[in-house]
């Protein structure tokens, strides 16, 4: 399957390239990757950690609980597919966390974690075609929340 994986990665990169060139388009995700991190805020505005927590819980938005144990005790059934996110801000700086949420395939091309701020995936349903999973400000809110997990 090496071949298939390589193709997927190549297509993925092509899309990241396309975003950079096509920066004018209104709903195209725009971000600049520097050494596998995204240092600049996607919106230029500070994130709202309280809303970020809500986005992380919401099954139709971040749905992070599907795969991660998090310090969100009022919610039952946290998934175990990814690492426990307790103390994640001690392990990663903001720019790395932003990269991780925007497009984790840059960090690990084979990851199961969705890219929350890219488009161009194969065979997306009409309803979500051309749309990112989270909006730019929602990503910033999630980052602000993750930064509280010390």
């Amino acid at each position: 399957m090496k071949h298939t994986k390589f193709m997927t990665a190549a297509i993925g990169l092509a899309f990241v390239g396309a975003f950079a060139v096509n920066a004018q388009a209104a709903d195209m995700p725009k971000f600049t990757i520097v050494n596998d991190t995204i240092p600049a805020s996607l919106t230029g505005k500070p994130g709202d950690a309280a809303n970020g927590r809500k986005v992380a819980i919401d099954r139709k938005k971040g749905n992070c609980l599907a795969c991660h144990v998090m310090p969100i005790p009022e919610q039952q059934f946290h998934g175990h597919v990814g690492p426990d996110l307790h103390g994640v801000a001690k392990r990663y700086d903001e720019a790395t966390l932003r990269m991780r949420v925007v497009d984790p395939k840059v960090l690990n091309e084979d990851t199961m974690m969705p890219s929350f701020f890219t488009t161009g995936q194969h065979r997306v349903t009409k309803k979500f075609e051309g749309k990112t999973i989270l909006g730019a400000q929602e990503v910033e809110d999630v980052i602000a929340y993750l930064k509280t997990l010390m």
Partner: protein, 278 residues
């Protein structure tokens, strides 16, 4: 009936048979399942397992019973029943034509020389309906079709799935290859392939669900969520839709290829349809 003991015995037997087959086969693709081959039964809830273990508690059975009546009923312009050609559904000799239902589901999909494509049990039933009974096809996800595939699956209970479609000389090899490519291809807004859930993270919790190997040996399956029997292709559509990928059609080439590939991934697993799942 002590279904569990039978299953375990046959599982052990089945592994033996598979191992023997491996040694004889010239070509053998590596096993992608990991160190152990297991059915979704293993991680199903105690509640659904108990239902599956007892045919009287299995909520899929009433539909199967209705299909048993259909099986013996004359139909179509030919005015013939399935039993007229195949004998009683549990006749190991398969009537005058020597085509028993026993073992069919464990062997399918097979290659159909007419279409040059895989044919699964659903399409095979419809082929007999149109070609021999001169009757109308059953709709793919209709009660009649689900009951009939359940009835036929029941005749394969405990028989290990067998597929040699990975062998380049097998007529299904092209379909197997296409199915494999589908299995590993990312899709949907969440951009995952089957392998991310059912290979890489098998046995792990995704929210409240334990991910199984996504094997096909239990179909048709009674899902409490559906509150009825459902086909393998319905499950495919669900697993596609959950990651916001546009599903393919019931009986589509894509799903027939995928079904062919899954039958190979599950080779050696005893059949347990109609199974019960959350």
């Amino acid at each position: 009936m002590n279904f569990k003991t039978i299953i375990t015995t046959i599982a052990v037997l089945g592994t033996g048979i598979t191992l023997a087959a491996c040694q004889m086969d010239a070509y053998q693709a590596p096993n992608p399942n990991g160190s152990e081959l297991w059915s979704g039964y293993k991680t199903a809830t105690a509640e659904t397992r108990a239902m599956q273990d007892d045919d009287f508690a299995n909520p899929g059975m009433p539909m199967v019973d209705s299909a048993a009546a259909l099986y013996n009923k004359k139909d179509g312009e030919a005015n013939m029943s399935c039993a007229d050609c195949h004998g009683a559904v549990d006749d190991p000799k398969g009537g005058s034509k020597g085509l028993p239902m026993k073992g069919v589901s464990a062997r399918y999909p097979v290659y159909d020389a007419d279409t040059k494509k895989p044919i699964n049990v659903e399409l095979r039933i419809n082929k007999c309906r149109t070609k021999y009974q001169k009757a109308k096809e059953y709709k793919y996800e209709s009660d009649a079709m689900l009951g009939m595939t359940g009835l036929i699956a029941l005749q394969s209970r405990g028989i290990p799935m067998m597929s040699t479609a990975d062998n380049p000389s097998d007529e299904l090899n092209a379909a197997w290859k296409a199915g494999e490519a589908f299995y590993y291809e990312r899709r949907g807004q969440l951009n995952m392939s089957c392998k991310h859930c059912h290979e890489d993270h098998q046995g792990e919790l995704i929210r409240a669900e334990v991910l199984s190997q996504g094997q096909s040996n239990g179909f048709p399956t009674y899902r409490l969520k559906w509150s009825k029997l459902g086909s393998l292709h319905r499950r495919f559509r669900g697993c596609n839709g959950n990651i916001r990928a546009e599903p393919y059609g019931y009986g589509s080439d894509e799903y027939l290829n995928l079904e062919t590939y899954l039958a190979w991934r599950g080779r050696g697993l005893p059949m347990e349809g109609p199974s019960v799942r959350k």
